[in-house]
Amino acid sequence: MNWRTTITALVFVPCLVAGAAAAEVAPNDVAFGDDGVSVSLTGVQGDVEAGAAAFKDRGLGNCLACHANKDMSKDLFHGNVGPSLDGVAERYDEAMLREIVINAKQVFTSETVMPGFYSLDVGKDVVKAREGQTILSAQQVEDVVAYLGTLK
């Protein structure tokens, strides 16, 4: 690498990252492809630990309410409304996991019980305080997807 490309990289790469973070994909702009949602919602790599926390938190993902997960066997009372998430990263790649978290009804059927965690296609009479909001933020979705990617 010569000095010129080094400088270019130093100047442009942070701009690109910052640019991607600023251009967070809005819930109604998510591009659902045949193979899932391949583009990160934020451009910022998901944080596995933060994802595990959001997964568990009853006010955020609350994923254990419906899914068993051996990785969290210390936490009591895993639900079984949805399938166990053991080995889920072997069944779905990152793009599919992202699509399922964003809006599972895109992947499965409209009858799916699982809420869309980054979707404004919601039920009627949403409580005022949450109108126009998604259950998880774009970065929380990325974090949860990163965590799910570790469940092999």
């Binding site: 254990l64 309410a65 639900g79 079984n80 409304v81 039920g123 009479d125 949403v126």
Partner: protein, 283 residues
């Protein structure tokens, strides 16, 4: 992976599936209260999504179930006793109590609540026990209507429904326009609400028998209301409806609103044939 490993993996998966299965089933037991056998499983009425309707009692843990089989153990019976006291208390400008006209509730009210909601020709709407009490209070007793969940409404409702203990639920949908309210209630039942985008059916039909955390999802039957909940005491049906809707992160309708009266009509029908269990004991 060797074939052997795969086979043992498969066996493990089957074992786990089996465990999930046993965890998901309602218990094979019979509810007998003070020696009187309740109908806690009944053949579903025509047009019902299930073949069999099941009392929520079958979905509760052993300790919770045990509380309902003996009325001395049932904490909801304290409320029923309070309701009995109200029954005999004179209130209002007419100087009457419930007993002044209806005498002994164990005779006059026996089986009555099993057929509610009924059609109310005056309001041209369904009427439930709570609203029937209010109608009696305002029209016959010269007393104020109870506000929702206040002033003894839950206790008196529990007392009146308890007089039908063991009697199977049976609505007459041919009364007035009750059938169209049933239809409307069915719409409410299947309409998804709130940010979590869930309907009654998401949990109590599609996921019946499964667990949300430690909560074993029942068919959501209403034959035991007002019910004694271990975490919140005597709980009215419309309070429970509102709590469920609130949990979907939605604004919830007013108690006794058209929406919830329609839902009560429809959900009561979904429990056709089950014994009135009031006051049932649930978690």
């Amino acid at each position: 992976m060797t074939k052997r490993l795969m086979t043992s993996g498969l066996a493990l998966a089957m074992l786990l599936a089996g465990m999930v299965g046993s965890r998901a089933d309602p218990v094979d037991d019979t509810l007998v209260i003070d020696g009187q056998e309740m109908i806690s499983r009944a053949k579903a009425p025509e047009g019902h999504p299930f073949d069999e309707v099941l009392s929520g009692w079958l979905f509760r843990e052993g300790e919770t179930r045990a509380l309902e089989v003996d009325s001395f153990e049932n904490p909801g019976m304290l409320a029923v006793e309070e309701g009995e006291a109200i029954w005999n208390t004179v209130e209002g400008t007419a100087g009457k109590s419930c007993a002044s006209c209806h005498d002994d509730a164990s005779v006059s009210m026996k089986g009555i609540a099993a057929n509610y909601p009924k059609w109310d020709a005056d309001s041209k709407k369904p009427i439930n026990i709570e609203l029937q009490i209010n109608k009696c209070r305002t029209e016959n007793m010269g007393a104020e209507a109870y506000e929702f969940d206040k002033g003894g409404q839950r206790e008196l409702t529990a007392f009146i429904k308890n007089q039908s203990l063991g009697v199977p639920v049976q609505l007459d949908l041919t009364q007035g326009d009750l059938q169209s309210w049933w239809e409307k209630g069915k719409d409410v039942y299947y309409t998804r609400t709130g940010q979590l985008n869930l309907s009654c059916a998401s949990c109590h039909e599609a996921s019946m028998g499964k667990y949300i955390r430690a909560d074993h999802l029942s068919q959501g039957q209403v034959n035991g209301f007002p019910t004694y909940r271990l975490n919140s005491g005597l709980t009215s049906l419309h309070n429970r409806f509102r709590g469920c809707i609130r949990d979907t992160r939605a604004e919830f309708p007013k108690a006794f609103s058209d929406e919830l009266m329609a839902l009560e009509t429809y959900v009561t029908w979904r429990g056709t044939g089950l014994s009135v269990e009031t006051p049932s004991v649930r978690q």
